[in-house]
């Protein structure tokens, strides 16, 4: 913000992103190598590349959504998965598919679910009393558990080839993720658009009254952030199901690297979020090869201890 350029850090993050993509393409079946036959090339280009790109888009979207929710909550513990927003998106998508509402695009169903979930958490969680992070988080966790139960119910009542679906909707899984190449410029454009409003986000992170005194209309901005964060979460869920904790881990790490100014934090989170999920998924594919883990297992294994650490730290400050 004050003359300090974010360019070196961002270039490093771009390099990390490309490195992670290269690794994702080269690593498979527990072995590493340059493709030297037509079949190998086919595997790399038709299986690994689309999956890596899906991981990249999902990771960026979740990291951006997490960053925005942390502005709403003024707390680094906010994350679309923890607060049940991902769960809402998943439950609505699944319900739509079961009820054969296939005419509606799945992204739209997911968006409706994410929005309903956000409203429940941020309106009920805020209550009328003084601002309380504990209350908000508790509401989120309970709502997330509720969506989880609904998803399990729907899967149990649905047809029986649902184990894969179970992993996808409850943990997040990139095994069958395929996205169009247009997603990447799309995510880049979203990042740039958000960066244009980054100064307002900085002001909003200072709290409602302070934001109003410095010239932002908090109610209106908060509504905009709810909608955008829900939309980003919904897009991520429609690609990869409910991958958890990316929106918690990535903004936290990036804040340590580039600081809390959203002009630097947003692009850093988008880049590193993408790289992080590409790496996590590559690891998930190869760790117990030929078995493949759902990527959500890995992100949760990293995210849960970090969440507890952050919770402990926020608790101690008061």
């Amino acid at each position: 913000m004050t003359g300090k350029s974010a360019l070196p850090v961002l270039s490093v993050l771009v390099a990390v992103l490309f490195g992670s993509l290269a690794l994702a393409l080269a690593l498979g079946n527990g072995s590493f190598g340059w493709p030297d036959s037509a079949v190998d090339w086919q595997i790399v280009l038709e299986i690994r590349l689309p999956r890596a790109l899906a991981a990249l888009a999902t990771g960026s979207l979740l990291a951006l959504a997490g960053t925005l929710m942390q502005v709403l909550l003024r707390n680094p513990l906010a994350d679309p998965y923890v607060l049940g927003v991902s769960g809402g998106a998943a439950a609505f998508s699944l319900a739509g598919m079961l009820l054969a509402l296939a005419i509606l695009p799945i992204e739209l169903l997911a968006f409706a679910g994410a929005l309903v979930s956000s409203v429940i958490v941020f309106v009920l969680g805020q209550g009328s009393g003084p601002w309380s992070t504990a209350r908000m988080l508790l509401t989120g966790v309970v709502v997330a558990a509720g969506w989880g139960a609904l998803i399990s119910l729907m899967l149990a009542l649905g047809d029986d080839q649902s184990l894969r679906g179970m992993l996808f909707w409850l943990m997040g899984d990139l095994s069958y993720a395929r996205i169009s190449g247009w997603w990447l410029p799309g995510v880049a454009a979203i990042t740039v658009l958000l960066m244009l409003r980054a100064r307002s986000l900085n002001i909003l992170a200072a709290g409602e009254t302070q934001a109003a005194l410095l010239g932002e209309d908090p109610r209106r901005r908060y509504t905009e952030i709810y909608v955008v964060a829900s939309a980003l979460t919904a897009l991520a869920v429609s690609i990869a199901g409910t991958v958890g904790f990316v929106g918690l881990i990535v903004p936290h790490l990036m804040r340590l690297v580039v600081g809390a100014d959203h002009r630097r934090l947003l692009p850093a989170a988008a880049l590193f979020g993408g790289a992080f999920l590409v790496l996590a998924d590559t690891l998930a594919r190869n760790l117990f090869s030929p078995r493949q883990l759902p990527v959500g297992v890995l992100t949760a294994l990293i995210g849960v201890p970090l969440f507890l650490l952050l919770l402990n730290r926020t608790g101690n400050r008061k």
Binding site: P76, R199, S200, N202, A212, L214, G215, D217, R255
Partner: protein, 268 residues
């Protein structure tokens, strides 16, 4: 703007009524704040000094009445426009995320910069100058969360100074500050009012600071009643005793009059 705008009130409220939890604390207040005025708000704890300031800033609901800035009804002005002319130091400042002191002070420039613009070198200078004014220039790069209570208070004040509004509302600006800092900060604010023809409304605990730094005084009694007038007429032992519901004595030497609580015997 008309040339003689110095006599026009910058901030004005008419028939302003404010309540806390259904209890009317300020009833039908008419107040005009013009350039060169420093109005002190005095009253016991919980009479609604903070609530009134927040209502004047337009960030808290009021029961009735209008508040206008430069002759325009504030309820109809966008927040951004209000923030260019009116700034407020709130009682508590909490920093949720890490930022350097300079970055926090720079946030005061927010309403003056275009939506998509960046801070200019002039904005950064203004912020640095504001940090200097509150004695934090040496800590410009320090994280706002590593500052002490008093330093955080001064940083919040630097943010409003960087905002540089025509009207400044200050809620207990001297909280957490040692006497030397209190005087230094109030001197700085006084200069703003007199040299730069700004105006301010200050909620104060300390009556003796009000005698030095306020041109006018508004007394709030907590039941809706209020009294307003020039400082010299308002600050008398008799009025203050009535306001604070305890005996207060005026003690004078050649330089100033000091008010003190009459301790002991009287109030057994």
């Amino acid at each position: 703007m008309i040339e003689s705008s110095t006599h026009e009130p910058i901030l004005e409220c008419r028939d302003l009524c404010v309540s806390i939890g259904g209890q009317r604390v300020v009833d039908s207040l008419d107040l005009e704040v013009s350039a060169g005025q420093s109005i002190g708000i005095l009253g016991p704890n919980g009479v609604g000094k903070t609530t009134l300031l927040l209502a004047l800033a337009g960030v808290r609901g009021k029961d009735a009445g209008t508040v206008s800035l430069d002759g325009r009804d504030m309820a109809r002005l966008p927040r951004r426009e209000i923030a260019r002319g009116l700034g407020m130091l709130t009682q508590n400042t909490r920093f949720a995320f890490d930022a350097s002191a300079l970055e926090v002070a720079l946030s005061g420039r927010h309403p003056h910069i275009g939506t998509l613009g960046r801070e200019s070198a002039a904005d950064i200078d203004t912020a640095r100058k504001a940090l200097e004014d509150v004695g934090l220039d040496a800590l410009a790069e320090r994280s706002c969360r590593e500052l002490s209570g008093g330093e955080q208070r001064r940083l919040a004040l630097a943010t409003v100074l960087a905002q540089d509004p025509a009207v400044m509302l200050l809620d207990e600006p001297t909280n957490h500050l040692d006497p030397a800092r209190q005087v230094a900060i109030l001197d700085r604010l006084w200069l703003r009012v007199h040299r730069q023809r700004r105006c301010q409304v200050i909620a104060l605990h300390d009556v003796n600071l009000a005698t030095c730094y306020c041109t006018d005084v508004l007394m709030l009694f907590g039941d809706g009643r209020w009294e307003y007038g020039p400082t010299s007429g308002m600050l008398t032992a008799e009025r203050l005793s009535r306001l604070f519901e305890c005996e207060i004595r005026a003690i004078s030497d050649q330089r100033q009059t000091v008010f003190a609580v009459a301790g002991g015997a009287g109030n057994a």
